[in-house]
């Protein structure tokens, strides 16, 4: 007990051995550590002679030397060895250039990351497109990285080199004195036009034929007839209070849809004076995007439209004290309606606009007559400073075809169009093209035309070459290369200069032309260099307008259009928003973009009115064979409301050779079906039904017969229930997700019920206060036209995979945002409402509570975030999402095409199989803007952050912003009386809100009043 207790660490300490004393002094115990280098030290200890040491070191030295001599692929990877000035890896750079996807020539900005363009966006400063860009423009980025492009010069179907093909073509041309023709699409580039005429002028009986697959030639032809100049008016929809359109899909596909959408929407401000709100009447036989946005749709056949045009002209000429002449073949139409329109427009002289999309000079003449009587020339139609966006000349084409037939064409240069595809309706062309001894295709597309030509001179994508354009008089813009050419292509201009015997680089050609011809028109620039660099920086330049001298309107040239009423079933051919004339059919993004109306992807179909379908015993998806004369086409039937009973509508642009590539697209598994069978095309080529009448290409046919083949075809639809109303037999209840009101009620309307305005009493206090930012979206349903460019914009920005027809058919498309389209009314008189839908970023998100692994969580700034690498894929969140906006990675979607992978946005992760994804409100853009603001040491301003959908919207329908910022645009929108949230009663508290659609209708006309 009395003895002091002693603790000891081990036997050594207890025994107090001498080793223990020694080890106490040293820092580390020696015995405890085994000698790991024992063997090595033994080797070193062994007697290594000087000789063997030298041998060993000599061997190692030689082997290192040999190893370093092996040639290895030099991989270009960041960081740069010599960093180019002003390039910081990981930061995006923007170049202003021009969109070359179609002839509308919208101004664009390309986003470059690490030396490659990854996104195309509208240039907000551009006078025409004002920051908008259509779906095709957005998607045309993929064309740059298309691995199936032709990138080497071709001679008779096999690869060659530039020197050979240039020499041979020049040699052949030297032997020719006449009959050299250019067949191109509309050329908006002044330099190119100049170069082509340089070639053509060298030969006799030669010419340059501009041909648009979907032609607007009659508009120009008609203006030539009545005004003496073959021009396309510059339409100003923003100045028109009444718009009457005869089958012109100007918001979707007609001439310059982005520009027109901007202008159209600016005339439809729900909050402004109701008097200034434009009234839009659409005559059409199918339901088009433009028609779906109109205030009044009059379903009529082409003949009936002719009768309406005639009658309108007659009524107006009475008012003007003129006589219109006899109208033959009167068709029974609603005369009161025409009276109303005539009255309305007469009282708004100079503030109305009548447009006609029917390619018939007779119709166009009368339409011009109407516009002239209404004094619209000079206000809503500008022909003094006209548009050059479409110049196709059907008569010139007809001439060329007859020359081809006669064998008078010795050399034919084709570019920008694919006549072997789009002229399939002209059997004489298809037959005679081979009579031409020298056929040269200047294009990078491996399409139908590429198969028949002798030489292919590959061109460059518009993002990799210089170029210039003049879409309307007084506005020029530049294309600039945003990447080194991929492959061995050569710009069109350079190839033409080679034909002239003197190959000059493209930029020199353009610069020279501009210095000589355009600089002089520029105002207030000190030097050409200054002018050039300023234009390059802005992407465009406003120059002196050409001020064309037109004759006075030639009233004698106009007579009533001939209209023949046909009782039989007719066909009309139209362009789809995604596919247009088929030029972009190689593009999977566009193939998988749902049509705004039918919501069908991957392929075309024959749309039939419900009544007619019932009459013919046709159900949706039935394979039908359409026959006109001896031309046949097999297509799936689609039942389309709002369509004329005697019309079958078929989209153009399908059945191209370029679409054959899609036989492999999409995941493959036990029960998967290929998008197309190998060797097949996506959809069928309906250009076979085009014909010529009165010198113009006609996109309609009469007397079609329909036979059911008995087979069924799949229609890959993304929306199968078409109304906001539940089926009649299940209650017929109308849901209020997409709200609409009449224009006259706007001021007294409250979208949010009083009940919801006073926030419901909460059981619990809010556990989180958003004290910093609180991001939100406001979407104006009245502005959204349904054009779907946001869907593609989102897809490009967020690396969203294309899944193929079978997967879409299984309702598994991956688009993070969709545009819901609802019909109301009956089968004939339908109202359409579009509702863009993406993650609503609910503050009380139902998806967040149910995830067992916390893979979806809420940010302190109100974002609903999906953590990909945390997700195990229970799909509970998707089930519990009331808006069904979550998308699941059912498979590993292919990213095999290395070149196509160049479009991938490095800021956004590629998602693997088995995880959930959804709209992030472009969180990477939020962070980019925040970082930038921090770097500049400023606070974030409203408008600094623009998500991809908002950016791409031509109608400015989507607004992003900070709900906590009292001065933000979104805050003023949330206070708007049209503003509401979806499913308010569920108390999800979404931060995405909608503004109710406004209908400029009287009470009786409204279906949903």
């Amino acid at each position: 007990m009395g003895k002091k207790k002693k603790n000891w660490k081990g036997i050594e300490e207890r025994e107090l051995t001498p080793q223990f004393h020694k080890s106490l002094e040293s820092e580390f115990p020696e015995d405890g550590i085994p000698d790991l280098f024992k063997e090595e030290s033994e080797v070193l200890k062994s007697d290594l002679s000087r000789r063997s040491f030298l041998k060993a070191s000599g061997f190692s030295l030689t082997s290192v030397l040999l190893a370093s001599c092996i040639e290895r692929k030099v991989e270009k990877a960041i960081p740069y060895i010599i960093k180019p000035e002003a390039i910081i890896p990981g930061r995006s750079y923007w170049y202003s250039t021009t969109c070359g996807a179609c002839e509308a020539q919208c101004g664009i900005l390309t986003k470059n990351r690490d030396g490659r363009p990854i996104k195309i966006e509208g240039n907000p400063d551009h006078p025409l497109s004002k920051g908008g860009l259509c779906a095709v423009g957005q998607a045309s980025l993929l064309g740059l990285y298309d691995s199936k492009r032709i990138t080497e010069p071709q001679k008779e179907g096999s690869s060659s080199d530039w020197a050979t093909v240039d020499n041979e073509i020049n040699k052949k041309l030297d032997a020719i004195t006449e009959g050299v023709y250019f067949l191109t699409s509309t050329i908006t580039s002044p330099t190119t036009r100049n170069l082509i005429s340089g070639v053509v002028d060298k030969y006799q009986n030669s010419g340059h034929v501009e041909y648009d697959a979907v032609s607007h030639s009659s508009i120009l032809d008609s203006h030539e007839k009545v005004f003496g100049n073959r021009v396309l008016p510059h339409y100003r929809f923003d100045r028109a209070k009444t718009i009457i359109s005869f089958d012109a899909d100007f918001l979707g596909t007609w001439v310059s849809p982005v520009e027109f959408t901007k202008d159209y929407i600016s005339g439809r401000n729900a909050e402004g004076n109701p008097e200034d709100y434009s009234y839009h009447v659409q005559f059409e036989s199918r339901l088009s995007l433009t028609g779906s946005n109109s205030d009044k749709r009059i379903i009529s056949t082409k003949a009936e439209m002719g009768a309406y045009i005639n009658l309108l002209a007659e009524k107006l000429s009475h008012k003007a004290g003129l006589s219109f002449g006899n109208i033959q073949d009167k068709i029974n139409i609603d005369e009161n309606l025409v009276d109303n329109f005539a009255e309305r427009m007469w009282s708004q002289k100079g503030e109305s606009l009548v447009v006609c999309g029917i390619n018939s000079i007779e119709y166009q003449n009368v339409v011009n007559y109407i516009n002239e009587l209404l004094g619209n020339y000079g206000s809503t139609l500008d022909i003094i400073n006209p548009s050059y966006q479409t110049k196709g000349n059907d008569n010139a084409l007809a001439d060329l075809i007859s020359k081809l037939n006669e064998g008078k064409v010795n050399a034919l240069f084709i570019s920008g169009c694919n006549p072997l595809y789009s002229l399939t309706g002209r059997s004489d062309f298809m037959a005679s093209i081979n009579k031409v001894p020298l056929k040269v295709y200047i294009s990078d597309q491996n399409d139908e035309t590429a198969e028949v030509v002798n030489y292919i001179l590959p061109t460059l994508h518009f993002l990799e070459s210089w170029g210039d354009t003049e879409p309307i008089s007084g506005l020029v813009s530049l294309y600039q290369p945003t990447i080194n050419p991929i492959g061995n292509g050569r710009s069109f201009n350079e190839s033409i200069s080679a034909l002239l015997g003197n190959k000059i680089p493209n930029d020199t050609l353009i610069k020279t032309y501009w210095e000589e011809n355009i600089y002089s028109l520029a105002e207030g620039k000190t030097s050409f260099t200054h002018f050039w660099s300023q234009t390059l920086n802005d992407g465009y330049a406003v120059i002196k307008k050409s001020e064309i001298k037109n004759n006075n309107f030639d009233f004698n040239a106009v007579k009533a259009a001939n209209v023949k009423k046909s009782t039989a079933l007719g066909i009309i051919l139209y362009q789809k928003i995604s596919m247009l004339n088929g030029k972009h059919s190689y593009n999977p993004w566009l193939q998988e973009l749902p049509d705004p109306i039918s919501k069908i992807t991957w392929g075309n179909y024959a749309s039939i009115a419900p009544k007619k379908a019932e009459e013919l015993g046709i159900a949706e998806g039935d394979e039908i064979i359409l026959t006109v004369d001896d031309v046949q086409l097999k297509l799936p039937a689609q039942i389309q409301v709002g369509q004329h009973n005697d019309i079958v509508a078929i989209a153009l642009g399908y059945g191209t050779k370029s679409s054959k590539r899609f036989s492999d697209i999409g995941p493959k598994w036990l029960q998967s079906e290929p998008t197309i069978i190998k060797g097949d095309t996506v959809g069928s080529n309906s250009f076979v039904f085009t014909s010529m009448s009165n010198g113009n290409i006609t996109y309609s046919r009469d007397n079609v017969s329909i036979v059911k083949s008995g087979a069924k075809m799949k229609l890959a639809v993304t929306q199968t229930h078409h109304t906001i109303t539940v089926p009649e037999n299940l209650g017929g209840q109308v849901r209020d997700h997409a709200r609409e009101i009449l224009l006259k009620d706007v001021s007294t309307y409250h979208a949010t019920s009083i009940h919801n305005q006073n926030k419901q009493k909460e059981l619990w206090e809010d556990d989180f206060q958003y004290t910093g930012h609180h991001w939100g979206l406001a979407i104006d349903l009245n502005k959204c036209t349904g054009c779907s460019s946001c869907v593609v914009g989102c897809q490009v920005e967020n690396n969203i995979p294309v899944v193929g027809m079978d997967e879409v058919y299984r309702r598994r498309e991956m688009h993070w945002m969709r545009i819901d389209r609802y019909y109301s009314g009956d089968d004939e008189n339908v109202d359409v409402i579009y509702q863009p839908m993406m993650c609503q970023h609910c503050d009380h998100a139902s998806c967040e509570v149910v995830c067992p692994v916390l893979a979806t969580v809420h940010s302190s700034e109100g974002l609903n975030q999906q953590v990909y690498n945390r997700c195990v894929g229970t799909r509970y969140c998707a089930n519990n999402c009331a808006f069904k906006v979550r998308r699941f990675n059912w498979f590993d979607y292919a990213h095999d095409d290395q070149l196509a992978n160049m479009t991938l946005n490095p800021d956004v992760t590629i998602r693997t199989r088995g995880i959930m994804e959804k709209c992030s409100l472009c969180i990477h853009r939020i962070h980019e803007a925040k970082t930038e603001a921090k770097r500049k040491n400023v606070s974030l301003a409203d408008g600094d952050i623009v998500p991809a959908c908002m950016q791409s919207c031509s109608a400015d329908a989507i607004v992003f912003g900070d709900l906590n910022d009292p001065n933000s645009r979104i805050n003023s929108l949330t206070k708007n009386n049209r503003h509401y949230h979806l499913l308010e009663e569920m108390n999800f508290r979404p931060t995405t809100g909608y503004l109710a659609k406004v209908r400029n209708k009287t009470g009786e006309e409204s279906h949903n009043g």
Binding site: P667, S846, A882, F891, I915
Partner: protein
Amino acid sequence: MANTYSILRKPLIKGDKSLNTVTNDVLRPLDRKPTSLWWATFLFAVSFLLLGVIAIAYQIKTGIGTWGLNKTVGWAFDITNFVFWVGIGHAGTLISAILFLFRQRWRTSINRSAEAMTLFAVMCAGLFPIIHMGRPWLFYWIIPYPNFRGPLWVNFRSPLLWDFFAISTYFTISAVFWYIGLLPDWATLRDKATSKVKKKIYGILSFGWKGSFRAWHRYETVYMLLAALAAPLVLSVHTIVSMDFATSIIPGWHTTIFPPYFVAGAVFSGFAMVLTLIIIARKVMGYEEYITIDHIEKMCKIILLTGGIVGLAYGTEMFMAWYSVNTYERFAFINRALGPYSWAYWIMVTCNVLLPQLLWFKKIRRNIVLIFIMSIIINIGMWFERFVIIVTSLHRDFIPSSWAMYQPTLIEIATLLGSFGLFFTCFLLFARFVPFIAISEVKGILSYARKNGKEVKS
């Protein structure tokens, strides 16, 4: 042995069994070589199991896309099968625990097989939540334990997590309960074994059971305690499974009636499955004197009761949908009954509510063939109940643009068949290698309603 007897009740075990005959009868299948019938059914079951294994391997390799799910219907066959199997698993614990606590001595003939069935059904059930994940190889992420992933924790608000706890607890308790009950029987096997190896194995399996008074005393205390522990689980498991739906926002799922409704449905389907199995087993294995027609009739009565609760729940749901004036709720139920999946709804109503009404008749309750058919009908009906609840609610919810249809793929059907393969393979192995009837417990009731060990003829 108790020497009280009732002259009002019939004995539970027929045929004047002595203790020795019971042992011999129960152990007979274990002693002899398997019959050709056993081999045939076993191979049949194993081939289904293999089919399932192949389907699951293919699905894990290729992706959940091999199922017919889509952006709108995120669960269908997977969770239907899960709930179906969990429901089947209910009868075992109910019979062994709740009936034990209520002193229902007739349970002794069927509790062993019912508990085994429970285990196998829960195994089948547990399979589906794992393979239905997009990344099943990460399923352990839903287990809360200190980890090196951050550490990342789980979401205790998610009913899927509660599911994980409920199912794993239920399986553990059921397995332990089943095994504890087996101890005296293992010892019997050991004592009867002729070879040394068998003796050794059965000895280990019986945990060295001695049959002493103390061992029996402790055994019965443990059994009682476990029964008391397991009893609430009978209610909790399906309550929690039902919360997967009840706590969500989907009309047709979001209802407070789900917990009792699901528990009743589970007992209903569980008893039906027990009936299916024992009706075959008593015939094939010659246990007709142990599992008598009285047993079957008693179970039919429970089915009638729980089936009635299920029917009431169907009616209540419909009534509440109408009474709530909630448009989405109303639509969900009208759509169930009259929408595109109405055929499934009416199969459910017919199989679960209408046909079981026949059980009111004693003649039918005592008709083996009819009861066998009825048990299968109820199982079909209960599978469809889960399918109807899951698919019809999901396929048309709030936003009409997203409405979609669901169709199962071959892989899904193969997986369902595979789960049946797993179930029957396990059950057949059980019937072959484990005493099918609890020998010790049956011996305890031999004297029930007997005088001096003899049946009293009235």
